[in-house]
Symmetry: C2
Subunit: 126 residues, 2 copies
Amino acid sequence: MPLKVRKNRAEPPPQPCRLTECMALIAGAWAPNVIWSLRAGARRFSELRVDIPPVTAKVLSRRLSELEERGVVTRRVLATSPPSVEYELTALGAELVPALDAIVSVGHRLKAVRSQGRRQAKTRPP
Amino acid sequence: MPLKVRKNRAEPPPQPCRLTECMALIAGAWAPNVIWSLRAGARRFSELRVDIPPVTAKVLSRRLSELEERGVVTRRVLATSPPSVEYELTALGAELVPALDAIVSVGHRLKAVRSQGRRQAKTRPP
DNA sequence: CAGAATCCGTTACGATACTG
DNA sequence: CAGTATCGTAACGGATTCTG
């Protein structure tokens, strides 16, 4: 008799597809970095390029459009000469920052555990 | 005179590359869904396939290996017949769940703003 | 059941060059 | 300065088949 698939307890958020859809908010190369760079306030296109070294103008431009379309950032053209454009997190976009923080925190601790787990491998209770 | 690139205020976490590295924790298709599915406890391979409908065995298997290697989940082979394998979040892996929750929360509210922003477009203070 | 192996299509990224 | 256009490539995921 085949094993029974246990019911998945705790399913307040309905389908897993919802999750996928929401994760798309920060999808695409460098999107998290853009949010990260804007955490302290507005920033211009070329400043973002400097903040995120290996990003190309094409990809940065694309990512910013997507983030704007999704309501994560706002775009404001300044009447300077030459013209410059400022990007800023929306109120909701700013709420993504703590989430990124949490992920980074876990990442750092995982790395620490890794490197010290090597040295002193097994301390297991019998 | 060209505009000066303003210093990026607030830079406690050093390079943006660190962020990229940490975001890799939840990278790959369905990885967030796996973490999500394991939030309430251990789950078998085939149960995860049911939890996350469109995932193929190949990709699920690959994602689980990666997550295990990164210390996000643990893998335990049960001595049953036929053999089954249980996956479970590690302590650190479990800390990713609130972060995913936050992102989902923002995602839902962004969607709400979107759909009601259509109907009643402009209410701006002079 | 849990998964490895193979093949193959899509895509998204990077590099480069060009525009307003 | 702030992008857009075009091109080539590598990586990723999906479908299918096979094994212990």
